[in-house]
């Protein structure tokens, strides 16, 4: 299976209004794909179609499974989701219970659960949060716990809908590095839905969504070539890519840079 997601000619109506009109979309397996679009471009509606929460006029195939009512249980067992701030997403009184719950449902032994949580503590430095009330945490910590609840199940696919927006930069980079490591080991595929163009620098592939249409998709190197595309979708290029374009115009550099350090090094040898 080369593609983790296939959507062919899907149309979707909501209350008589046509939202998606013959949508075509494929996402490669074992890659970090960012679906970039402004507020209202259709990101969350698309996520709901992937999750079977909404049904269009064509079958969506996710992770080789047809997204239909009968298959949802099987589908959800392979997917982890990280959605943006919902009120009352935490049902337990401690972070520890929240993290253990997804595993208890999957019949891990108490010892295995402890080991997994210990591993997360080591990796993400969250030991001090374990016995706190998750609803009382700062926005950044809530988001981290939400993400860890998805990761602890070892999902094959991680779907993130703006779920990293409150993380401080260091935590976000740590999270992304770990996701990329898993992707490299062919253990994970990430679909990251966001309007934050800076975050697209982390990804392998980019899909540009504008007003419920896929404008283009490809590797990030390819997509960044097309400035007009970003303008059309009301998106700004990432700072370092924007600066790269401007300096290329004056022949100061000959390609797009994704790292400030590399660009500074090359400009002032």
């Amino acid at each position: 299976m080369k593609n983790v997601l296939e959507i062919k000619n899907l149309s979707f109506k909501y209350d008589q209004e046509l939202i998606f009109d013959h949508l075509n979309l494929t996402v490669a397996k074992n890659k970090f794909t960012t679906i970039l679009g402004t507020s209202g471009s259709g990101k969350t509606t698309l996520v709901k179609l992937l999750m079977g929460e909404l049904i269009g006029d064509r079958i969506v195939v996710l992770n080789g499974i047809a997204v239909t009512k009968d298959n949802l249980k099987q589908l959800y067992s392979t997917i982890g989701t990280v959605f943006e701030n919902q009120n009352d997403i935490f049902i337990f009184k401690t972070v520890l219970e929240e993290l253990a719950f997804p595993l208890e449902n999957k019949s891990y032994s108490p010892k295995q659960i402890d080991e997994k949580i210990e591993a997360l503590c080591e990796c993400f430095n969250i030991k001090h949060l374990l016995h706190q009330n998750p609803n009382m945490l700062t926005a950044s910590d809530k988001e981290l716990v939400n993400l860890l609840m998805a990761l602890i199940k070892n999902p094959q696919i991680l779907i993130i809908d703006e779920g990293l927006k409150s993380l401080d930069k260091k935590t976000k980079e740590k999270v992304i590095n770990i996701l990329k490591e898993k992707i490299k080991n062919k253990e994970l595929t990430v679909l990251y839905f966001t309007h934050n163009t800076e975050d697209s620098l982390y990804s392998d592939d980019i899909i540009i969504l504008d007003n419920k249409n896929v404008l283009d998709y490809g590797s990030k190197e390819e997509i960044y070539q097309n400035e007009d595309l970003f303008n059309k979708a009301h998106l700004e290029l990432p700072f370092i890519v924007d600066l790269s374009k401007k300096l290329q115009f004056y022949d100061m550099i000959d390609h797009d840079y994704f790292s400030m350090e590399k660009m500074v090094n090359d400009l002032w040898k």
């Binding site: 507020s39 700062t138 703006e162 401080d168 300096l247 350090e261 002032w268």
Partner: protein, 278 residues
């Protein structure tokens, strides 16, 4: 309206000290940026400035009125009509009714006097860039960005003199962020409002703050004009990131000893790089 924060302490029930001898002067008709990493005390400070919490020690002075640990209820209620506040957790502050009713509720609660409620509601939507077509839509059907703009519309509807927003750029794409910057500048210059923005998004604050306070562990670590604060060394000691453009310039200056100026605008930076590196 000038606001003075005098030696404010705030301790939570579980003994966490969120604010520790905090002192600030917010000048009338300015845009002040209060920046800090997570758990710096930003949200607690926002709640105190918005009169949702009161200092455990110290006081806040707004014009001639002093707010301390205990206050006259009526005085606070009157003062609140002059303050508009958007919390980081603004999703909790909707009625979860139609757009029309959400704004109408604010006009009634804050006793905004107008002969034409409907016009005031439509104008509030217009000013934040939301379509009139959304008037009878339920809040649940809006995208997150639209919800954020609706909260802005609710806050502005009763014409508060002081605007306080905790994490203003949250949930706004770059296009909407630029629209918000224009809106806040207009609120300052045309409507003479005093604006306080609390944020960890230094890129956003860099674009419009007149004056900046850096807070960490509930106290002021640094203050000044944005050029001084962002180009200095204090900020790097906190968990905050510099604006991207400032990071780049700092890197060039420190790693390569290049003498380029601190700039706000990428076009100015481009010219400087061209001069320096060719």
């Amino acid at each position: 309206m000038e606001i003075k924060v005098n030696h404010v302490d705030y301790t939570y029930d579980d003994k966490t000290k969120a604010l520790n001898n905090l002192n600030m002067l917010i000048k009338d008709n300015t845009i002040t940026g209060i920046i800090g990493a997570k758990a710096a005390g930003k949200t607690t400070l926002a709640q105190i400035l918005a009169l949702e919490k009161f200092p455990v020690n110290g006081s806040v002075q707004m014009k001639t009125i002093t707010i301390a640990k205990k206050n006259d209820k009526e005085m606070i209620q009157n003062l609140m009509k002059q303050i508009g506040f958007i919390s980081e957790y603004y999703n909790e502050n909707f009625l979860y009714d139609t757009v029309y009713k959400e704004i109408d509720f604010m006009l009634n609660t804050y006793e905004y006097v107008t002969l034409n409620h409907e016009k005031r509601i439509k104008d509030s939507l217009k000013i934040v860039g939301l379509s009139e077509n959304l008037l009878h839509r339920h809040v649940n059907t809006l995208s997150q960005g639209e919800k954020k703009k609706l909260m802005l519309a609710k806050m502005l509807s009763y014409n508060p003199k002081i605007i306080i927003i905790d994490e203003p750029s949250l949930d706004l794409d770059s296009y909407s962020q630029n629209e918000l910057i224009k809106l806040l500048r207009m609120m300052k210059t045309r409507y003479h409002k005093t604006i306080i923005l609390l944020s960890k998004d230094t890129n956003f604050i860099n674009k419009l703050a007149d004056y900046i306070y850096v807070i960490e562990e509930g106290t002021v670590k640094e203050e000044g004009r944005k050029y001084d604060v962002f180009s200095g060394d204090e900020l790097e000691k906190t968990a905050l990131d510099l604006p991207l453009i400032t990071s780049f310039i700092k890197l060039a200056r420190q790693e390569k000893n290049v003498k380029i100026e601190y700039r706000d605008d990428i076009y100015d930076l481009m010219k400087d790089v061209y001069q320096s590196a060719r």
